[in-house]
């Protein structure tokens, strides 16, 4: 229609008025490091794989997961999940059940027989990995991905190290362990079992290895000098659990005392119960607040009839009589003797007071530095310039399987740089996605999904797995509880809340971009972004 002058206007003509010039600050999209990723010793991109799990694309999620950690079904069971401790959702309701979803993905992968990514093309380099525990397996996997030939040796008759010989089956079923190890071996890892390495340097040279990764773990149970009669049965927890793992359990009798307060102590006590002990008593010199084991572990143990004597030490063990001394915590929280004693009937004493590493195989290796019984390493896990790397319990760090897996990965990359002569510039880490950057209003209230537990009677008698897994529904639910801290998950808020229509939506997976021709810089998008993935920066004027 031919419209009258000035009083009537053609629609949309205001687009010629570029209000972007009003701006003094401009919004920009950013990516921040989620606290879960930050806390994961294995360096998993947890939020990354949850992102795919949220959409039910479990295959993609699993693939994302195993880029960093080839053993999700195992980690989903035995990891102490520091990711969940760090999770921002704790401040909304409860942490996201990352560990449970990881296990769900791991189990699903085993069930569906998903295979790991094809190894990289052969570099012609050979690497010796000593020790087939979590560190060694992790290293072997990553080395294969990098295209290096790997020989994995272990003194035991089966692969898995402490995962097999230290962790009871009711926490980590052997079928799961075997499946995930087999999958790694299937990557083309040369394996030699029952092989004890006495001299690393010799084997490196003889075997023409370009590098060696030591992941020998801490196999020696610590002993303390407790007066005990000859007839008294005293055994260290490592040995005890190892024998159980090899289906050759020692006879401990009906009344078993376990001395120690770490996870191993609880593993030993709970295993003793399963072996028929009517009384499984943990004696610990400090109190509940100071024990090394996790709260879950304690609850489960108590649930299975294990009892605990807090603030007690074993004074002596004679025949069937064990004498305990009561302790008291001083101002610093350290236990001190009280001189009060009590007797306890016992058939056996299991010592769970920590483990030491046997590093005799390094005696001839040049340039190795051993302090406090562990090998010093650089950030690349290199222990000696000749190409010896070390990780897991053999180096200074928390002695957990997850830390070991992380070591394996880092060492693999260190070895890769070493043998290929790369000079890798350290990766830039994004700033942390802290809770104060979130707008939690937008997250719906969603209670954490609980994993089922095996009923008590069966837990006291069998080695059936205690903790069940999530089913597909609640795994999806749990995955979707993720707040996606610091990284856009395409909730469309910025696209919707802009008063100036100055946000372009680029389609699923493509995120958004700002139209700075019209953005006036009001900052609403920043305030209303649930996950803190936008920030304002001053305009250069």
């Amino acid at each position: 229609m031919e419209i009258p002058f000035a009083i009537t206007l053609d629609v949309g003509s205001s687009r010629s008025n570029h209000t972007g010039s009003w701006r003094v600050e401009r919004p920009v999209y950013v990516d921040r490091l989620p606290p879960c990723n930050d806390a994961c010793p294995a360096g998993e991109n947890i939020q990354g794989w949850l992102y795919y799990a949220e959409s039910g694309n479990y295959r993609r999620a699993w693939e994302k997961l195993v880029e960093e950690n080839p053993m999700p079904a195992i980690m989903g069971r035995i990891c102490f999940h520091p990711c969940e401790t760090a999770c921002n959702r704790v401040q909304v309701d409860e942490a996201v059940g990352i560990n449970a979803v990881e296990r769900f993905l791991g189990d699903l992968a085993i069930e569906k027989r998903w295979s790991l990514p094809i190894p990289g093309s052969d570099t012609g380099k050979r690497v010796l990995v000593v020790g087939a525990g979590p560190a060694g397996l992790s290293a072997a996997y990553h080395l294969r991905r990098l295209g290096h030939q790997v020989k994995l040796v272990d003194s035991a008759s089966q692969l898995g190290g402490m995962m097999r010989y230290g962790i009871p089956a009711y926490r980590l079923p052997r079928s799961v362990l075997d499946a995930e190890i087999a999958r790694i071996v299937a990557q083309g890892v040369e394996v030699e079992l029952n092989h004890v390495v006495h001299d690393v340097e010799r084997e490196r040279i003889d075997g023409k290895f370009d590098a060696v990764f030591l992941a020998v773990g801490a196999q020696l149970g610590k002993r303390v000098n407790i007066p005990a009669g000859d007839s008294s049965r005293v055994i260290d927890a490592v040995t005890f659990l190892h024998q159980v793992a090899e289906d050759d359990p020692p006879l401990l009798g009906r009344r078993v005392v376990v001395y120690g307060g770490g996870d191993t102590a609880f593993d030993a006590a709970r295993t003793a119960r399963r072996l028929g002990a009517t009384d499984a008593v943990i004696v610990y010199r400090r109190n509940r607040e100071h024990m090394g084991a996790s709260g879950d572990e304690l609850e489960q143990a108590l649930g299975e009839g294990v009892t605990v004597r807090w603030l007690s030490t074993v004074n002596r063990f004679e025949g069937e009589k064990m004498v305990l001394e009561k302790m008291a915590l001083n101002a610093e929280g350290f236990p001190e003797p009280t001189g009060e004693f009590e007797e306890l009937d016992a058939d056996a004493l299991v010592l769970a007071l920590g483990q030491d590493t046997d590093l005799s195989l390094l005696n001839r290796a040049p340039g190795i530095n051993i302090t406090n019984g562990v090998v010093s390493v650089e950030s690349s896990m290199m222990a000696a310039p000749s190409g010896i790397f070390a990780g897991g319990d053999a180096v200074p760090a928390d002695r957990t399987a997850t830390v070991a897996v992380g070591h394996g990965k880092r060492a693999a990359h260190g070895i890769d740089d070493f043998v290929m002569g790369n000079d890798r510039s350290p990766k830039v880490r994004h700033g942390l996605a802290t809770f104060d950057r979130l707008n939690t209003w937008y997250y719906a209230d969603a209670p954490r999904q609980r994993r089922p537990e095996l009923e008590r009677i069966r837990r006291q008698s069998t080695f059936d797995e205690v903790i069940g897994g999530l089913n597909e529904d609640n795994a999806l639910f749990e995955a979707r509880r993720c707040l996606s801290c610091g990284n856009c998950f395409e909730c469309d808020n910025c696209f919707g809340v802009c008063p100036d229509n100055a946000v372009r939506k680029l389609g699923t997976g493509e995120r958004y971009e700002f139209d700075y021709d019209f953005c006036k810089g009001c900052g609403i998008c920043v305030t209303e972004c649930p996950c803190g993935a936008i920030e304002m920066v001053p305009e250069k004027i």
């Binding site: 229609m1 031919e2 419209i3 009258p4 002058f5 000035a6 009083i7 009537t8 206007l9 053609d10 629609v11």
Partner: protein, 421 residues
């Protein structure tokens, strides 16, 4: 068809023949009979399709008309006096937006003092609103002007106000030839809006226009009114050809050839003036009458032409600008620039004061004798005015003049109210 019919009824039936699609109104004397009749026709279904909307105020009435017209419907309403003033903001807006609304104005005085009777103060109050204002001399002309008004409004996209004297015409039962539908359809094609609110072709109507363009917008409105000066005679001519009746146009002249004194006026008073002129002519006085049908746009050239024969012009009007004098006379004076006429101004018939033939004849006689002052208030009760002025000079609190004057007259104050019908 020739009928003996009340003026309001004649307007209602003629408006109905113009097929209005939206009619809205708020009652005010003396307009009520018009909208009552249209409302009845819509209810009875004899006027269809048409939406008749009872609104809550004149302001709303004009606003509804604005919306309807902008949406492409032929819109009509009617009002008077205070009602026109109450809607004045919307009256200006309708013109500014160029919406071809037709409104009947049953001319009535404006209070205070409240007064329901006829004069032209209301029409003059919106003189500058941008509406075309046509004045009817008779009910026949009032009826005919409505048909021409719709045609004119829609051709130019300008609203048109048809002014007819309240009560004197609206309530008078007289002879009116009501056109038939076929004739009206011939004279008035369907409404083709110049701009319309249409989802298929969206526009923004009613933008805010700043100093950079406002004057141009106003000037364009002025040019459209000047176009109307061309179109009004053409439309009247077409009307005459089709109906065989002369109605509308810019100005009308009566016995002005050879006239030395010409009386200029608007509306129904022209009839009484013509009678008076005839009487004076019989006495040999050379007087004539010029009626102005189109007050806005003001036909300056046509007026000058019509008045050329005379030496003395007497502008008689039913309104005045307090503190100055005539309104119409000012316009006439402007259009007579360069001419040598003696110009006289007479204010008459305010608030329904009867304008009698006798008073007019005396007025003419005085004028012919050359004794008419520049400004005259016809039949003014000078004694009453003098008494009130003395009273005011005497006491500070002399009370309201209107009541005082009535008391002096001994007249019983008639109870009136704006909304009565």
């Amino acid at each position: 068809m020739l009928r003996q019919i009340e003026g309001s009824r004649a307007i209602a039936e003629t408006v109905a023949l113009c097929r209005p699609e939206v009619v809205c109104a708020y009652p005010i004397s003396p307009q009520t009979h018009i909208i009552e009749a249209i409302g009845a026709m819509v209810k009875a279904g004899t006027l269809a399709p048409c939406e008749f909307i009872n609104v809550e105020s004149e302001f709303a009435a004009m606003s509804v008309a604005i919306g309807a017209s902008a949406a492409g419907a032929r819109a009509y309403t009617a009002t008077a006096s205070q009602g026109l003033l109450y809607m004045i903001e919307a009256v200006y807006n309708a013109a500014g937006l160029g919406l071809p609304i037709v409104m009947t104005l049953a001319n009535r005085a404006i209070g205070a003092p409240i007064n329901i009777w006829n004069d032209h103060s209301d029409a003059m109050a919106v003189r500058d609103a941008g509406w075309i204002q046509l004045f009817a001399e008779t009910n026949q002309e009032a009826a005919d002007l409505h048909v021409q008004a719709f045609r004119l409004a829609e051709e130019l996209s300008v609203p048109v106000m048809v002014c007819m004297d309240g009560f004197i015409l609206t309530h008078a039962v007289e002879r009116v030839d009501i056109l038939d539908q076929a004739t009206v359809d011939l004279l008035l094609p369907p409404y083709e809006p110049r701009q319309v609110l249409d989802p298929a072709d969206p526009v923004s109507i009613g933008a805010m226009v700043g100093p950079e363009a406002f004057e141009e917008v106003r000037y364009l409105a002025h040019l459209r009114q000047l176009d109307a000066l061309e179109r009004i005679p053409v439309i009247a001519k077409q009307f005459a050809e089709v109906t065989g009746r002369a109605s509308g146009g810019l100005v009308s002249s009566y016995r002005t050839e050879d006239a030395q004194t010409i009386i200029v006026a608007l509306g129904s008073v022209l009839g009484t003036i013509k009678d008076a002129v005839d009487m004076r002519r019989d006495l040999g006085e050379r007087v004539g009458v010029v009626g102005i049908t189109s007050f806005r746009p003001f036909p300056g050239d046509a007026v000058r032409e019509a008045l050329r024969p005379a030496t003395q012009i007497v502008v008689l009007e039913k309104a005045f600008s307090v503190g100055f004098g005539g309104v119409l006379s000012t316009d006439v004076a402007m259009s007579l620039q360069g001419e040598q006429h003696v110009l006289r101004n007479v204010v008459a018939g305010l608030g329904g004061r009867a304008i009698t033939r006798r008073s007019l004849e005396e007025l003419i006689a005085t004028a012919v004798r050359g004794e008419l002052p520049v400004l005259t208030f016809l039949d003014l009760d000078h004694e009453a005015v003098d008494r009130e002025r003395t009273r005011m000079a005497g006491t500070r609190r002399s009370g309201p003049s209107a009541e005082n004057l009535l008391r002096d007259r001994g007249t019983v104050g008639v109870s009136t109210s704006r909304s009565d019908s």
